[in-house]
Symmetry: C2
Subunit: 681 residues, 2 copies
Amino acid sequence: MKQSKQKPNPPTAVTLETQLTSTRLAGDGSDLGIDGRRRVVIEGVRPEIDGGRFPIKRVVGQTVVVEADLFTDGHDEIAGVLRYRHEGEQTWSELSLVFVENDRWRASFEVRHQGLYYYTVTAWIDHFRSWQRDMRKRVAADQDVTVDLLIGRDLIKAAALRADGGDAARLNAIAAAMGHGEERERTVKTVLEPELADLITRYADHPWPTIYDKELAVIVDRVRAGFGAWYEVFPRSCASDAGRHGTFKDCEARLPYVAGMGFDVLYLPPIHPIGRTFRKGKNNDPNGNSDSVGSPWAIGAAEGGHTAIHPDLGTEEDFRRLVRKSEEHGLEVALDLAFQCSPDHPYVKQHPEWFMHRPDGTIQYAENPPKKYQDIYPLNFENDQWTPLWQELKDVVVHWIDQGVRIFRVDNPHTKPFAFWQWLIREVKRDHPDVLFLSEAFTRPKIMYRLAKLGFTQSYTYFAWRQSKWELIQYFTELTKTDVREFFRPNLWPNTPDILTEQLQHGGRPIFMSRFILAATLGANYGIYGPAFELMEHRPQRQGSEEYLDSEKYEIRAWDLDRPDSLKELICRVNRIRHENPAFQNDLSLIFHQVDNDELIAYSRRSADGKNTVLIVVNLSPHYVHSGWVQLDLQALGLQTGNPYQVVDLLTDASYSWQGPRNYVQLDPHSMPAHIFRIHM
Amino acid sequence: MKQSKQKPNPPTAVTLETQLTSTRLAGDGSDLGIDGRRRVVIEGVRPEIDGGRFPIKRVVGQTVVVEADLFTDGHDEIAGVLRYRHEGEQTWSELSLVFVENDRWRASFEVRHQGLYYYTVTAWIDHFRSWQRDMRKRVAADQDVTVDLLIGRDLIKAAALRADGGDAARLNAIAAAMGHGEERERTVKTVLEPELADLITRYADHPWPTIYDKELAVIVDRVRAGFGAWYEVFPRSCASDAGRHGTFKDCEARLPYVAGMGFDVLYLPPIHPIGRTFRKGKNNDPNGNSDSVGSPWAIGAAEGGHTAIHPDLGTEEDFRRLVRKSEEHGLEVALDLAFQCSPDHPYVKQHPEWFMHRPDGTIQYAENPPKKYQDIYPLNFENDQWTPLWQELKDVVVHWIDQGVRIFRVDNPHTKPFAFWQWLIREVKRDHPDVLFLSEAFTRPKIMYRLAKLGFTQSYTYFAWRQSKWELIQYFTELTKTDVREFFRPNLWPNTPDILTEQLQHGGRPIFMSRFILAATLGANYGIYGPAFELMEHRPQRQGSEEYLDSEKYEIRAWDLDRPDSLKELICRVNRIRHENPAFQNDLSLIFHQVDNDELIAYSRRSADGKNTVLIVVNLSPHYVHSGWVQLDLQALGLQTGNPYQVVDLLTDASYSWQGPRNYVQLDPHSMPAHIFRIHM
């Protein structure tokens, strides 16, 4: 590795290409703004998202593998380096690119700090290695190499001029010896040594390097961005005595329960004052009454807006205490960012220009015609005062950062302008690179991906609706085996307060178990909405709806956490398995293996160092025992064909001795619908 | 279609993205250099080669289909246009983009003139259509729409302000009627009409359009670039009496023969004076003697260099006459550009700085150690005087253009810098957009593609070595079904003076027939090196070599063109079929169909208008009769399932009545190894 001064990109052949498609040039090559002697081409640099428009994502400690096509005209040897630097560094670190195949070169670097890294590629003609290669062939063909030795001597002398003391002396000595015929044999041996090429490379002049015209970026987040189990809970339902409005103090009392199940993030729906105008009643009744507690997403009342706390939950100090206490339990509090207002929100009076006004003088409420959401006023981002609006919303985020929050779950980001999020996230992370944003955009794929590209740390996914084996394999292959893996970090939720899938409504305990295990083992990040999940709440508001009956979105619920059928033991075990096995802590190693039964799905994951390998098999049917033969990709698992290996089911502690790729599995969904094997070689 | 003034791209959200990955911004949105109200996103624009760095290619009369992903936040309707213009036009033409699926939009335009076209995409929120869509839902749900009518009225009035006389009056009348309750029903009907949206679109203000940040380019060539049959011949072998050095006049006499076979391009190896120093003898003998004629690629002697004509061929006037006479026969003369010098080339004395000098004072000859090519000095493009060198080489091209040449076959372009070719081709085509360049780079795939991207009109391919069914399908799928199709125009050669494949050496007449038919029907552009090809010359210089024995590269050959076994009749027939059937005249429609026999390959092609469809079936075995069932993709052929159709073999005039996708074929390589069916519906 070598340090070099950071220089602005000089014009390159790549610049020329752009010009040639759009302007006319004078006839003289010197007008090109390039040096025609710059002969190496760099293309196909990866990773590169949308032509370098968007950064890729990593967490601290992960590796960025960079590849590029490098080639030149003619037969000269070439060499190149990967250059990278943290945004706080002025100099590039350089690593030699290594030839792979088919003009492809590769190098990789580890990201060690939060913030932005930049990387790019430089390459040049390696005249000395070209000379060495030809020299070897000449010597092998027993040709007269007298003149060729002189050519090599000049190259060595030129390097010596730029070399440090000892190296300069060594190079000069070699060059001097090359003139003497009697020492020819020994001289030839010396100058053909690969080590000499390395030495000369260190000092070589390559006056016309090609420098890739883009500096590509990596957003590096802290480790939590890449691995975590989320638990969503309504604070107002945390009271120990049924019917009472829960408080932050009640949440504190709930912490041992949540932490005890092994979760990492405690996500709270909005904690702000709730509007009274058009307040919804139970089960989304548009005619709520004064007893209704309303929806936490109808934000803002006389008591305040997005920076205020609902008085029934407690004070700012109570909230900060909850954040601290959570930390003591190994939990981080995540807040909801829902940028919309109830008609009673202070913004409505203070900033009427931020809302859409109708010709009758009223403010436009949220609609999806013919449906009306009169308790919600959307912000109008097309208003003339959009810059103060953007600034205010950023101030909201900073306010909660000041209260100790570092994770935000963003409600419906796809209903606010993309440029706004890109600006907001970049602005916030500039001062607080440890802040993470989860995008809750259940919408069309390109929109979800765009939000991820422009900066969201994590994203909700279609996981809840990917239920068959084919759907799961297709979707997770897209997420982990295409460019999507570079910018989109999936966070898998089997349920949310808005999503009670039909499968969960009808599949009983086996489906809650299997969907939980799928979420927790297919992705490094996952979450559940509890206690509804672990208590297997499955009654829909009505037939065909994915809404919960008696949803906590509109009322306070009391939950019997000690119910004997609770899944909390399973959840606890799976979270412990995830923490103890690094294989679960990144998304990129996921590989599916064939099983000759469409109800059984098998996949493996490995830790980056290859030392920890797990194999998961899930019975997707909630009804029937299924068995089949798993056909393992032994190479992907790091196993030698022919050698026996041990698989230990981390769920049951059962141990099996396997050999070869084909192995039999049988799973009864009513006892345990999955194996989570650790593979011991 | 609508004309709009060409404006420089204003900053867009796309610009913002680039900034956000590389710089830090002030906290105030107004510093972004963008308008935050610009809400539509444009991405995934296709065709776009290497992020827009390179132009795509078309010929006059072809169509460019442009697609883009367009979407916005929220639920508003959006609209967009494809903008395009010829480089000579100041204003953009605009065409509405039409929604396809999954946020994908599409429009297409025809290129009518040679030169460069530019295209890009613009999109915006369509507030009136958003309002209309919601209005329809409200009316359907029988909601009170009083206020909504007022909102719509304002939108209509705003458009009326920008509308022309009649339209303005009409819009104002509609707006006025919207206030009157008693006319409500009729008013609602009027304002929901799609025609009203079209009218308003014509005048609508969309103050914050997103303009794609790239103007992508199309190089448009004349039709010959996209369709042609080449015939390569050594002029010095054209004499009617054996042993005499042929002249341009002899070539003239050969024109009826070549034109009679239906060729379009007559390609001549270098016609310049040939060096005497280290001149090669027959069969590449390094010890040639004064009787040797030498290799035409060892360019330059006392008589002159790249702009001179070999005295034994004739004069400049003879050459110009050959060009004219060729035209009269429907043939275009293509010249060879081989930028290398014999030791006797005038450049060696006039411009010693353009060559590499060795420490012993000699000039570096071409080498591929341990092989030496002492009759060739390569140009050293790394020399300090590279700009005069570039200019001189351009002048060489212009010299031949001045003699009437419009097609150049470029020898080994991959041994000269990429930037040089990009500059040269662009420079030449700026003044002479009708000039075409064929790249002879038989090298690694990425290098071949790079040369095509940077401007070569056509390219030699790996066709000669793609012989099995699997190889052919794989290769031609890559050429015609990936982005490669946009910039790489294949020119298929079953043989060249350098390439006598092992298959041709051993396969006899059947393999010459099948390889010819494959070349002429798999690609719109193909060529043969004759008369070696039609006379089935197949003797290699030695076992394992692809060089011809007694190669015309080093000696004058006499050919008996009237040999009864000549393939000229087949060639004539196939070339006529190609001319009569537009299906053969573009590369992009190629589709392979399944055959249940690995020795039979089947593929179809269609004309752009779908009116002309051909199906080719070739027996790849030179030895055995093969038969099998072809499984046709009827939809791709434009056929209705169930309807019978007629296929006429254009090679034999035999006619068959087929029905359904499965049909039987049998081919005897010793009589005719292929069917070329025209499909009649």
